[in-house]
Amino acid sequence: MTALGKLFRTTAFKLSFAYLVVFTLFAFVTLGYVAWSAEKVLTDQFVSTIENEIEGLSQQYRNGGLRRLVNVVDRRSRTPGASLYLVTTDVGERVAGNVGALPPGVIDRVGQFETLYSRTDETDTKPNAALVRVYLLPGGFRLLVGRDIEERIRLRNVIHKAIGYSLLFIGVLGCLGSWFIARRVLKRVDDMTDITRDIMAGDLGGRLKIAGTGDELDRLAQNLNDMLDRIGELMRGMREVSDNIAHDLKTPLTRLRNKADEALRTARTPDELKAALEATIEESDNLIRIFNALLMIARLEAGNARESLADFDAAEAVRDVAELYEAVAEEVGVSLEVSVEGGLPIHGNRELLGQAMANLLDNALKYGAAPDGSAQTITVSAERVGQEARIVVADHGPGIPAEERSHVLERFVRLETARSRPGFGLGLSLAAAVARLHEGRLLLEDNAPGLRVVLVLPLKEVPVPQLALPSAA
């Protein structure tokens, strides 16, 4: 495609051109109307002048017959700036008047029409146009009264020229304008295209320029930049995940392999073999569990669980999961304090919220023990704050240092202090992914001492039930 062709194809050019056509048409119609009205006004004036003349002449004719009429015509013809007069015999011979040559046959046509003429005193100039009215007088005589309309024709010409010039002007200016605008837009789009091409070629750090005009292209560029940021984030996430998977799965896989290997070498009795096999199965189950959690997070982040959302009561879900964990907590000597406000309607996935809650409680039970062994309490609460449900799981354990908090939401991240305990470092990531799916967020706060995890979920707007009043009879 040539550069010009490209220019003509731009939306800006097409739009400008469309406007140009519309405005041209508008100008044409307006000027045309003005011209038509002006002509009409002039013509009306001519006609009324002619009518007045005729009125006067017919008066004279009635009073003094043909002779009087001829005299009056003769006198009037000589006045400067006079109308046009002609009185002829039945064969077209001039009796009186200031009209010289007329196209043949004109004088025989009775009625009002336009014709060419020349005055008796200016025979050499070219004939002018006139609006005339011809009457048949008794005895075959004819009377012609008319007005010169050259002025009207000149006006018409001026207007026509004006229309022509203005159309030309609009056209040229419009085309130039369209071209200029299109080129400007095209240049910015070309710049964007170049940058996106660079980005596609691998320069993921590249960002589109924002002109600062706040126009639609700026907004588009901003959105594209945001999208690129998000893609970059996902890419980093992906890379981290694959790195972490490689790293973290190596450990259990090696352990699995070693166990099988050891059993093969040392186990002698069927019981020993059986125990070794059971241990390897347990290790495999752990691996499967890690994979499932990873897949789930990946799916949530990809956002394709959106269609599975339904309305449910988050308060009930929180209560259920807390009840599920209450027994385990008691078993390990932790008291689980649950305070859940009734009725927290949410549009989301109950299963996933349950899973997230289970993860948070699991974490609290694993890592939330107070260092000195006292104050073994985990608090679970759910309440409505404005248009949000705040679900809190708080413990009195060592907590998470402020600088580590955003970090632990990433996959496979486990604090040094947690290395010695079972777990894969996926629980909080999953909870955060669930929060994101619900368009909420997961906050990690200081419980002074301990960790306070807050799951903030937007509440579903429940229409205030309107009391159905019986209509007045």
Binding site: M296, A305, E307, S308, L324, V328, L352, Q355, A358
Partner: protein
């Protein structure tokens, strides 16, 4: 029990056929959706184990077609997809249970056995009182007695015992308990279910010589009279 496995992965299928046969069941195999449909329609199977992704006719369409033909054989859907709403789609198509891959065979076996029993006893004939040895559970009055002595249970404990007794003499896995008693389908990571069962056990079995709630190693739990093989 006659089981039809409809699964296109040869290795997985032969593993399943072998495992089912070893546990004393009759297992047939169909490698694609059309064969599977024909066999399921013609043969008298107790349970169908259907993979979701099958050549020629996919799992969900197969189940839908069977249900349209009034073939009411219980179906367990196996799925590698494991999407969040997969279960819902599977059950809506007419499946009776759903197990995401990968799974432990013990889990599959327990679920298949429960499904086949559900078929044997029509839902209307479900008794209002479950009895195992001297343990009685009245589903209407929510009363539990053992040897005539009333045992007070929390509502959740009651549902737990109810589900165990409904499937008496069958292995019930932890996931199945979480599904039916708490209505959650995730993998219970810690021993949450175990603690609930052991609490229930302390109420039901404590002070009686014959325990009724048994732990089946590597699988789950079972309510039955007397000890059994594989018990800890």
């Amino acid at each position: 029990m006659r089981i039809l496995i409809i699964e296109d992965d040869k290795e997985a299928a032969s593993y399943l056929v072998k495992a089912f046969r070893e546990t004393g069941h009759v297992a047939d195999h169909a490698a694609d959706g059309l064969d599977g449909y024909a066999m399921a329609e013609a043969g008298d199977y107790d349970v169908l184990v259907v993979d979701r992704m099958l050549p020629k006719l996919d799992g969900l369409s197969l189940i839908r077609s069977l249900r349209e033909q009034k073939v009411e054989t219980p179906v367990l859907i196996l799925s590698a997809l494991g999407q969040v709403d997969d279960r819902v789609k599977g059950l809506r198509a007419g499946g009776d249970d759903y197990l995401p891959k990968p799974y432990a065979f013990s889990e599959l076996l327990a679920r298949v056995e429960v499904l086949s029993r559900r078929r044997a006893s029509a839902p209307s004939s479900e008794p209002t009182i479950y009895r195992i040895a001297d343990l009685e559970l009245d589903r209407l009055s929510h009363r539990v007695t053992r040897s005539g002595q009333e045992i007070v249970l929390q509502p959740r404990e009651f549902r737990l015992l109810e589900y165990l007794m409904k499937n008496a003499n069958q292995v019930v896995t932890r996931t199945m308990l979480l599904e039916h008693v708490w209505d959650y389908h995730f993998d219970p990571q810690t021993n949450v279910i175990d603690v609930h069962v052991s609490r229930l056990r302390s109420k039901i079995d404590k002070g009686f010589d014959k325990p009724l709630i048994h732990t089946i190693r590597g699988a789950g739990y079972m309510v039955r009279m007397g000890p059994m093989e594989g018990e800890e």
